[in-house]
Amino acid sequence: MNPLVAISIGLREIAAHKFRTCLSMLGIILGVSSLIATMALTRGIEEGTRVFMQQLGGLELVSIANKEPSSRKYEFANLSPGRTLRDAEAIRRSASFISHVSPEINLNTAVATEGGGNPERRVVQGVYPDHFVIGMQEAAAGRFLTPLDIERGSRCAVVGDTVAKNLWPGIPPELIVGKTILIDNRPFEVVGVLALYEMEEQARARRAGKKSTRGFDGFRKKNERVLVPFTTMFHELRSGAFPLDSLETMKLDTLNVRVGDLDYFHPALDQVRAVLDITHRGVDDFDLETRQDWFDRMESSVRATRLSGGLISAISLVVGGIGIMNIMLASISERVREIGIRLAVGARQRDIFWQILIESILVSLLGGLLGILASLGLIEILKTIAPDQNVPVLTPDAILLAVGFAIAAGLLSGLYPSAKASGIDPITALRYE
């Protein structure tokens, strides 16, 4: 028998029992929609975290942090100079897998416009040009700091979006470039304004004209930056406060490096460790903090979410399959006579088998399609209530997977009714009232 004929017979049968079919499809609809929604949700979490991490420097970023030396080396702890510019210089020279090195010193001080307007306390950072690469900064206007700025110790500054908005409210970034900013009462020229960093959710809220009040802003620090050349920072702002420090011996507040090629991530870490071992005279007072642990934690939580969502969907699909089986069995006992007539005019048992099987696949497929529609609504709801920056992302492979599972549910649940129907004896069936 032509499969098209079986499909048209099946569709007619479904059309003849719309309500009953809808009820039997309910489980499939729920299963498919929850499966797609789960996939979209976890994809959103992954995507959100990935974007966030990327903007904070990505996997390539490795922070060299201070650590209490181990007790074995405690006595020698004084021998170590700590994290200094020497470390940065040594890593830059000797660790070939490291592409960028960014030493930073911070100063918490007052920042104001020329004439002392809008004063605020900000963390001012003295940085090298590599900072902009490692931090994946983007300029809204102007330029970044250059090696020349470092060499000359020039009084120039790059400010974050929040800082710029607070100091010069309502003025676009292009016009802020060239203005004078007072840092600890010393005039600096603003040479660049950084782009605004925001979570997807906040961006949406801003576009919609609403104020986002909720949640954690991972980019707050990034937007509140005031960046000046490292040398300027030292000579103009720090040396007065710490007269015993020299540029070489001064302890860094931050030391970040960027791994050039992630394929050589671990060799790169080994190189850094070896270099620091020498510069710190064997004292293990440093630690390499990578984003890998973070990434792994995120992965495992996504996996857990996906698994539990998948389990709920699987249960719904099984229940849906049983529902379809039930309806098909009812439909067969209603149609014994029809099956007998079909057999009498020459239908083979396998024709009957296929007819019932295709019918149950059609029911589940239809349920799957309705489930996709339902999932679209579900995802819309999730978008408005989803707690974080993790907007659900609907992907075609989620839809394909869900439809595949729906068809499989229909196929499996249709097997038994089909076998039962094709085993009907024509004579008994023709006498059946």
């Binding site: 028998m1 032509n2 079909r342 009498a344 005019v345 048992q349 024709d351 004579i427």
Partner: protein, 226 residues
């Protein structure tokens, strides 16, 4: 060679410990173009014989050749094929599908013969016209009278151009006037060369055939020409 050739055909049902010999060593030859009536009272085995001849059932023992093929041990698929191509069935209770319209009912055997859809419709219309059902093709069986239903059933039986037409009490559910018209249709089909086998308990109907076979207790007891 005979169109139908039965030799020692038996059908035994087992009900609990009891053996019921519904057919007991039946021998019968039916030639192409014959008009035969199988007559017997209820429980005589005539329906069993009909079901065996109609390939709806398989015998317990014996040979059953239809159109030159031994079908006593045939597979279900082979039997389905014979039912589809070589045999047309007309039942007492019409056995039409109430959900389908007249044309689709008539075209039903063509679906299983693998005939493409446009040809199915054309052949179904022609078969309907052949039995005098020119109109009401888009009606559904419940909207038709008994006589019309039986005509639809006959058209369905003929649509695949089978060599044998079986009638199982085809007038049993009809009033006598309509029944006569149906029997006239059978007469006409016989005249056009079809082999016709009628099963009935009514001697008056059997009298229209050329050869009557009487069955009692699963055996052929008498054979005569009316």
């Amino acid at each position: 060679m005979s169109l139908i050739h039965l030799e020692g055909l038996s059908k035994v049902y087992r009900v609990g410990d009891q053996e019921i010999r519904a057919l007991d060593e039946v021998n019968l030859r039916i030639e192409e173009g014959e008009f035969i009536a199988i007559i017997g009272s209820s429980g005589s085995g005539k329906s069993t014989l009909m079901h065996l001849l109609g390939c709806l059932d398989t015998p317990t023992a014996g040979r059953m050749e239809i159109c030159g093929k031994d079908l006593a041990k045939a597979s279900n698929d082979e039997l389905a094929r014979v039912r589809n191509r070589e045999i047309g069935f007309v039942f007492q209770a019409f056995n039409l599908l109430p959900k389908l319209d007249v044309v689709s009912n008539i075209a039903l055997p063509l679906i299983y013969a693998g005939v493409p859809s446009h040809e199915r419709l054309a052949r179904a219309r022609k078969a309907a016209a052949d039995v005098g059902l020119g109109e009401r093709l888009s009606n559904r069986p419940p909207q038709l009278s008994g006589g019309q239903c039986q005509r639809v059933a006959i058209a369905r039986a003929l649509v695949n151009n089978p060599r044998i037409l079986f009638g199982d009490e085809p007038t049993g559910n009809l009033d006598s006037a309509t029944g006569r018209m149906i029997l006239e249709t059978f007469d006409a089909l016989h005249a056009s060369g079809k082999t016709i086998v009628l099963v009935t308990h009514d001697p008056a109907i059997a009298a229209r055939s050329r050869r009557v076979i009487e069955i009692r207790d699963g055996r052929i007891t008498r054979e005569y020409a009316p």
